[in-house]
Amino acid sequence: MIVVRAPLRISFVGGGTDLPDFYRRSPGRVISTAIDKFVYVVINRTPLIDKVSARYSIAETVNHPSELKHTRIKAALLDLGIHKNIEIASFGTLPAKTGLGSSSSFSVALMRGLHGFLGRKIDKRQTAEAASRLEIELVGEPIGKQDQYAASFGGFNVLQFNPDESVDVDPVLLHYKTQLGLEDHLLLFFTGITRNASEVLAEQKTNIGKKVDTLKEMAESVHEFKEKLLNGNFRGMAEMLHARWLKKKTLASNVSNSTIDELYEAGISSGAWGGKVLGAGGDGCIMFIAPPEKKNDIRHALKKIVSEKKIADFQEIPVKFVQAGAEILYNGDYVHNFG
């Protein structure tokens, strides 16, 4: 049996510039960090069972991977030529569709694990490439590559997406005081309002021609954000996010819906320096950077709105940053354990 985990991520600046329609014209750039919430994938060799089992939100047992409903497991198994005697289970620290990149974290953990299952050791970059290929080429999802790299590498990184498809990973190495300081200034809430990231991205994609300048500016501003982060200038970071949030609203009509707007405005008027909606927009999580002494005010303000609107799943997610990326936690797969 092999156990793999991959972290979720918070993407600060540059989301959307990791889409080929943009980075083929001009390099895309994203700054993000891995957090202490994980997707786990467990892979078991079942020599006595001539089937393929996938256990996630549902349980599937089929004779051939082509019969699987789970599109990514199906595509991955077919691509790697694994057709039977395997059981794959997946579970996560958080529910899906939080805007924290969990579906790509899953793909990253899956590819790392399946290569391990085949007796191959692949590194962080190969893992990120394999997961990107799985999602974008094999399954055909209209998403970018930032999440696969963030999940595979771990830690804070500036990711640059080049026109030739290569990706530069530049780790942002923070002193622990800066890292803990940012944790102190950060608030993350799961809004309980979910929608499919592919839908929003598909919409963004159609608009991309008109938005090239905005995206270019975003990709550029990653450098400035990184400098502020390295200097522990949390207020400066937050103000950049706030300015970005205002601009991002013009990117796609429904990137922000009215409830999210309301929550965001409440956070700002309760003392947050800035923040952003995480993910492709309109869904998932909302993040604020705020002075620590204002955090309680912000919590109360948001809870008030949430109880008025009766959003049941709303909750705060305490966050720590992690250096660890996608990792095999346990490998007891005896067949390939030698050599």
Binding site: N44, P47, A59, A89, F91, T93, Y330, G332, Y334
Partner: protein, 322 residues
């Protein structure tokens, strides 16, 4: 997150003598061994959420009492856990294979939750608690051999005493005999799934008539183990044959036409003897035969899938905990 790994077991002799209605009148004996096929139980905290069970099917409920999986519900109840926990089980075999997988799952869950809740439990305590939950709480008509095999591991003779105490005697074979035992073994899947509970329930109804059969089965364990220790595998296999012949009298469900055909075919092709693992009715059937006859037996049983396996020493263990 905690990962427990529990071995499955192959039953050689004495199955059903581990049931209370029998051992309260006459000491039960069972010879079995753990094998290199496992059940895995993963337990993870999920703060603020209900209970998720990823098993042969996936269940997501707000409270453990809503779980349809009775074994998980009962173990969670014992540990006082209502919600905020995720349990994932993976298995090397199908349920109903006669390798003790359903009790192995309970042993794994007990061990994982003991670590999860910060308790220290001995192998014996784990086996007893798992058996107690299945037999007393859930009313399964089964014995304790699977719990003891899974928790202790290895090749053992277990004795079920009148007062309920289970004595565990590891059988330490010289490496040469151990190797020979494995070399002479052939295991096939009959393709029939069966429910041990159903067979055992029908047996217990007729227990009065069955008492003398069970006495004979229990008594065979001692001389058969002696033959095994001497390395007389032919004699050992003949004991298996003898015991299987007696066991079939316990209820009509122990054997099926298919199992009888397989048995007769294997013997004709040169097997010394063999048995169906577990309560019978289907699942895995195994034979002991001189290696020179293996090819002929495989050919004769070519319609059935053969599975290689190794005997193991280690009982249920926590592989990972963080």
């Amino acid at each position: 997150m905690i990962i427990a790994r529990v071995p499955l077991r192959l039953e050689f002799l004495g199955g059903s003598t581990d049931i209370a209605s029998f051992y309260k009148r006459y000491p039960g004996h069972i010879l079995n061994t753990t094998i290199d096929k496992y059940i895995y139980v993963i337990v993870k905290s999920a703060p603020g959420r209900g209970v998720t069970l990823v098993h042969e099917k996936t269940e997501r409920v707000s409270d453990r009492d809503k779980l349809t999986h009775a074994r998980t519900r009962a173990v969670l109840t014992h540990f006082g856990l209502r919600n905020g926990v995720e349990i994932i089980s993976l298995s090397d075999v199908f349920g109903g294979s006669g390798l003790g997988s359903s009790s192995a799952f309970v042993v794994g869950l007990v061990q994982a939750l003991a670590v999860y809740t910060g308790r220290r439990m001995s192998k014996r305590a784990i086996a007893e608690l798992a058996a107690h939950i299945e037999i007393n709480v859930l009313g399964e008509p089964i014995g304790k051999q699977d719990h003891y095999a899974a928790a202790f591991g290895g090749l053992t003779v277990t004795t079920y005493q009148k007062n309920g105490f289970v004595d565990v005697q590891p059988i330490r074979l010289p490496p040469k005999i151990m190797e020979a035992l494995q070399n002479h073994l052939l295991l096939f899947y009959s393709g029939e799934k069966r429910s041990a509970s159903k067979i055992l329930r029908s047996q217990s109804k007729q227990n009065k008539e069955n008492f003398s059969y069970l006495v004979q089965m229990s008594d065979i364990v001692e001389p058969a183990t002696k033959a095994l220790k001497r390395g007389n595998l032919k004699r050992f296999a003949e004991y298996l044959f003898e015991e299987w012949t007696i066991k079939k009298n316990l209820s009509s469900g122990v054997t099926t036409r298919k199992l009888e055909d397989m048995y007769a075919t294997a013997v004709r092709a040169g097997a010394w003897g063999g048995r169906v693992s577990g309560a019978g009715g289907g699942g895995f059937i195994f034979f002991f035969a001189p290696p020179s006859r293996h090819a002929a037996i495989r050919k004769a049983l070519k319609n059935y899938e053969e599975f290689p396996l190794r005997f193991t020493e280690e009982g249920s263990e926590v592989l990972y905990s963080s």
